[in-house]
Symmetry: C2
Subunit: 699 residues, 2 copies
């Protein structure tokens, strides 16, 4: 797989089918760029109407080429594409890029045509990029298989940033912004309609690429869940940051995404949770995607989240402290002795953090050096930020400022170091050479540093042992099961349920209640009755003496309401009123497959939609992170003198259920454990009800 | 008041005390700027050591000047400032700006010195700006009373944007960014330590300034609440947008703010709510403050929130739709017939909204014109945005694009029109001349348009009739009152309480319970007992037969637990278990004075801190907006088949309480109505408990 994508990005030879002499046309641009870049491989223009194109010998068709090109670029109308794909396949070309639009994105006709070109390529063992894509480029190989206009005039410089984008226009925009920010690109891939190669596969390939250290990705959805999740997990273990822009989070956006590409949008909340789960960063804005990528490209990730701030203006310091705290950074105070030392040198300063040396440091730069050095050497911070404002915009002042700043940097340091300034690009590059990350404003710096801290944490997590999360699939029934049946199945997956008894008669029910010796709950048990309350099939808080009569009434009520249902009997269980009410479930996301959902019960789920998700399977540590994401989490820790709930047991339940969900992802469509009572610490969790829905179309 | 601030911003004559021949020094810069700008008034350098300063005749002191200058700028060390203020006061100068630091911000000594210069100025009837400030400027009057380095090389162009900033550095940064964005400045005021003139007063003056249409403000806190609130209300009724950056929202930030200036930080949540209440916009980032101001400077505010989007790239369209929905804009679909017309012209397009004309519109620009025209003429939108990407960066392409776009704009339109593009500043200015607002990316455009829609709504609200909200203060007791006493007071303010009876004996209690004929609640009634439960002073759900015994027990329990308390008796009331439990309160914010708080009871307030605030007094409409801000609002609308609660009655309660709170803001420190049960629609609200805390230090 990886090799065929390599043929797209670093081919020994390339045929450009539909080559144009006009360097501004789609069939002309790639040739122009390849020649300007000085691409070292063979380039074969294919155009039956010309003998030369842009000065190069042209060929009538693929079959006439002096060798089989490693890859082909098809710059042809949609209607001519199929024949060209056939010709490439016949010749044994390894891969082809299809620029043309007019396929699946325009409706049923186009979808069929697209399917035919994919089938043709597959039959010939050829990989396809596109159609409706902007192609690829690879600056270090001088290879430009794209017609993007952003290369007009300026090609890209090589670097460590990879770009994978479903949208060509967005991918081009990212490259354009990265270039303006001084970043170099390792590889750039746009996937368009994704008839064959999709963002997940391109991302996976990019993670393996040794030249790529950080990846900007854009997608409206993904198609291959396992590949996608594996790519994210590989990126994390290789300490490569993935900075993702996923669109379609609004209802209008999701609709537009669905009309725009063939990708299924899936649930945006689920996508969001999965990115978090696997340590990727989801950018809210394009500017943020660029800022975070820029910070990650330095390759320094902090061990912890402590930030020391230097300022010469109180107002800016406060603003940065606000922004830093908002993204979870710790603006911890300087140690007392360092504060005293600062105050001794500059009595007007605020030595705590932000360290405010006041405007006096502008005229007495040794104060700047001294303050910054104390923050760096003695503050115990993982990250450092200095607010320089418009100072660096003045050429004379800027060089003094740089010297004073660098005089403060210790010989050896592993701090993430940042600056905010408004200055011309040349001044910015100078400070960058000194090892500082430079941002236009504090908010951008804070968000980027927050992302770095998040990556640092994610990278340091041990690789989850996937094998340990595997469970041998159970031999499941194919038809519906009752509550008792669902509990029996889930019990085998390690999930504990309260003591209860399935009885056939009112007398047996009464005996069960007497044996339990507490008020009981009584529920009808039938594989066909999913909503027991609606048929009169639930009675709570029954005393033993009442049970027999109520049991007979329940049998009668259910027989009237659901005369055709198979009745397995009645489930009798002791009432459980304690604990924190939660809801746990499994569903199958159309894109991301088996998903575990968790939330608190009652108003939390009904009014506040306070739920979170994870892709199955996941371990207990991940379950702990999941539980802490809900807003109502403090309720589990105990509020108003309530005991802390058994969060460990809840985490085990979630992880166990995720393993079950993944092992049976093809057979099981959904699981509901509602409610699950989380008892006080040490007393476990009790799932009071269980429902399993079976159904095909799994991943 | 207004006139004296005018003397600071457009003086007929100005003395610069501490004038320096060195144009890079604090005492040299204002002179340099004034001369470069060609200020038409008289400028008097004061420097006893020189006969000429920067080519102008210098004077030994204020007393030697040929006339009394209208204003004075003091560029002197802190230690020399008091004498200069005295001299100005003696001479009858109307106002003075103090640049120097070293006052209240550096501790007790400085605070005392600052107080002395303020007292001196007040005695002489002179107003003070600063100390520790960067001064003012007024480009249309060519007046620059500042030493800000951002004016080095380029002065400001006049315009409609006013800047009011507590922080000089931040204010300068805003001016710098506004200039880079092509905006002109009307007036610029930095207030520094605010010994006399504060942000609220400067803001008020700016709202009255006929040259100013939109105001950027920065503060860590405000001192004069009534002036501040009045300034915001004036701005709203004059349709002038106030775009506010308030820092100190984090704990570290608030600490730093307190150490940085003398301003009290107050509660950030309250400040936030008050800005919303009075229709100001709170920017989260500096970039956003600039973007929103830029959009407001056009003077077009939409009537409603409908946005039509044109794109030639699906991905960008989706992203903008997401961003627009996130800020509450309505990306409503095009009318069906317009969609059909679009599809007929361009079968591959997505005609819904975003309207995606695909890359084909790049080569066939008449498609762009047709699509955009349809959106503008037939979409029924208030706002329009087109995504142009990097197209306008190409000079040849850009002019064609501009023509095609302008050909689509109807003769007369009142649409707010925006574009996103990456292009050189000259190209941006061209599109701006055509009446488009230009943003670098869609997120910035969406946030700015969202802000415009918010301003539009706020501006269209009728001026709240302050007089109608006034209530004649009641004759309140000075000492503590019991629950019954509190209810009696609040009843006079129009707040309804449930039927209840204050009884003295167990027998009377039993009689009351029999009369009510339902289970009752019984509470001890004493001005000294605030927490009744803790002393055994509450019993709920009592049946008439039990009441007498339980009453005697309660008297005994309370006598043991609080032997010194004055016992007024027992309050007997019918149990009310229905309705949605809410909490309503009044507190006194250290900065913003009497504040009404509202939230849902239970986990909403305890776990989620789901509460909101308003400055008192406010009307019923404002109360309705307040109620809708809490996350748990759907609970009041009825969930899971519950009836809609009586939101109108709740709004009346909140407004009534706000009027009480404002009328008694000096005497009343706090009010707690907890719980307030909001009954089903038409059945009102029932405040079950009431507590009033009296205490001085009011506003």
């Amino acid at each position: 797989m990886a090799d065929t994508i390599s043929s797209l990005l670093a081919p020994a030879s390339v045929a450009l089918v539909g080559a144009s002499d006009d360097a501004t046309r789609i069939g002309g641009r790639p040739l122009k760029y390849l020649r300007e870049a000085g691409f070292g491989g063979a380039v074969y223009p294919v155009n039956p109407k010309r003998s030369r194109v842009q000065g190069l010998k042209a060929y009538a068709d693929i079959a006439s080429l002096p060798e089989v090109p490693e890859t082909a670029i098809l710059a042809l109308p949609a209607s001519a594409t199929l024949a060209a794909v056939e010709a490439c396949g016949d010749a044994g070309v390894a891969s082809a890029t299809v620029f043309s639009a007019g396929f699946a994105e325009v409706g049923e006709e186009g979808r069929k045509l697209q399917q035919r070109i994919v089938d043709t390529a597959r039959d010939a063992g050829m990989r396809l990029l596109g159609p409706n894509c902007l192609g690829v480029f690879n600056p270090s190989a001088q290879y430009y298989g794209t017609f993007s206009v952003i290369l007009d005039g300026t090609l890209m410089k090589p670097g460590s940033v990879g770009v994978v984008s479903q949208s060509g226009a967005y991918g081009a925009h990212l490259a354009h912004l990265a270039r303006a920010r001084g970043m170099g690109i390792s590889k750039w891939i746009t996937t368009g309609n994704e008839s064959d190669i999709d963002v997940a596969e391109a991302l996976h390939w990019m993670v393996d690429d040794p030249d790529t250290n950080v990846i900007m990705a854009y997608a409206e959805g993904v198609k291959d869940r396992d590949l996608f999740v594996d790519a994210l997990e590989q990126a994390r273990t290789k300490r490569k940051a993935v900075v993702f822009m996923k669109t379609g989070r609004s209802s209008v956006g999701a609709e537009a995404a669905a009309s725009h590409t063939a990708a299924l949008a899936g649930s945006d909340d689920v996508f969001d949770a999965v990115l978090r789960q696997f340590g990727a960063y989801r950018a809210e804005t394009t500017a943020q995607q660029i800022d975070v990528t820029y910070a990650c490209a330095s390759g320094r990730f902090p061990q912890d989240n402590k930030l020391g701030i230097f300022t010469m203006s109180g107002g800016f310091g406060i603003q940065l402290a606000d922004d830093a705290e908002a993204v979870g950074l710790d603006v911890a105070p300087m140690p007392d002795d360092a504060q005293e030392e600062l105050l001794a040198a500059l009595p007007y300063s605020s030595p705590r953090n932000p360290v405010d040396a006041t405007a006096q440091a502008v005229s007495q730069m040794e104060l700047l050096t001294q303050s910054v050095n104390l923050i760096m050497q003695r503050g115990g911070y993982d990250m450092f930020a200095a607010i320089l404002g418009i100072g660096p915009a003045s050429p004379t002042f800027s060089s003094k400022l740089r010297e004073a700043l660098m005089a403060a940097v210790p010989e050896k340091d592993d701090l993430v170091r940042g600056l905010t300034m408004s200055a011309p690009v040349e001044a910015v590059r100078d400070y960058e050479k000194d090892g500082f990350l430079v941002f236009e404003d504090g908010t951008a710096l804070a968000k980027a540093f927050g992302a770095l801290a998040g990556f640092g944490r994610a990278f340091d997590r041990p690789a989850s042992e996937r094998e340990a999360l595997w469970m041998e699939p159970l031999d499941l029934p194919t038809g519906p099961v009752s509550e008792a049946g669902a509990k029996a199945i889930l019990s085998k997956a390690g999930i504990a349920f309260p003591e209860e008894r399935l009885v056939k008669t009112g007398a047996e029910a009464a005996q069960a209640a007497r044996d339990f010796g507490t008020p009981v709950v009584m529920k009808i048990c039938s594989p066909e009755i999913l909503h027991k309350t609606e048929v009169g099939g639930v009675a709570v808080n029954l005393l033993a003496d009442d049970v027999e009569d109520r049991a007979d009434e329940m049998f009668a009520a259910v027989a009237r309401a659901a005369p055709d249902a198979t009745i397995e009997g009645l489930l009798i269980a002791p009432m459980v009123g304690d604990g924190v009410e939660t809801i746990v479930g499994v569903s199958r996301d159309p894109v991301l497959g088996p998903i575990v959902m968790f939330g608190l019960g009652g108003v939390f789920v009904e009014v506040l939609k306070d739920v979170t998700f994870r892709a199955a399977p996941f371990d207990v540590d991940e379950a702990h992170r999941m539980i802490r994401e809900i807003r109502g989490f403090p309720l589990l820790e105990g509020v108003r003198g309530a005991k802390r709930a058994d969060i460990d047991a809840l985490a085990r339940l979630l992880s166990d259920l995720s393993r079950f969900a993944y092992a049976h992802r093809e057979a099981v469509k959904g699981v509901d454990l509602n409610p699950v009572r989380v008892m006080p610490e040490g007393e476990g969790v009790i799932a009071l009800d269980a429902l399993i829905e079976f159904g095909g179309d799994g991943a």
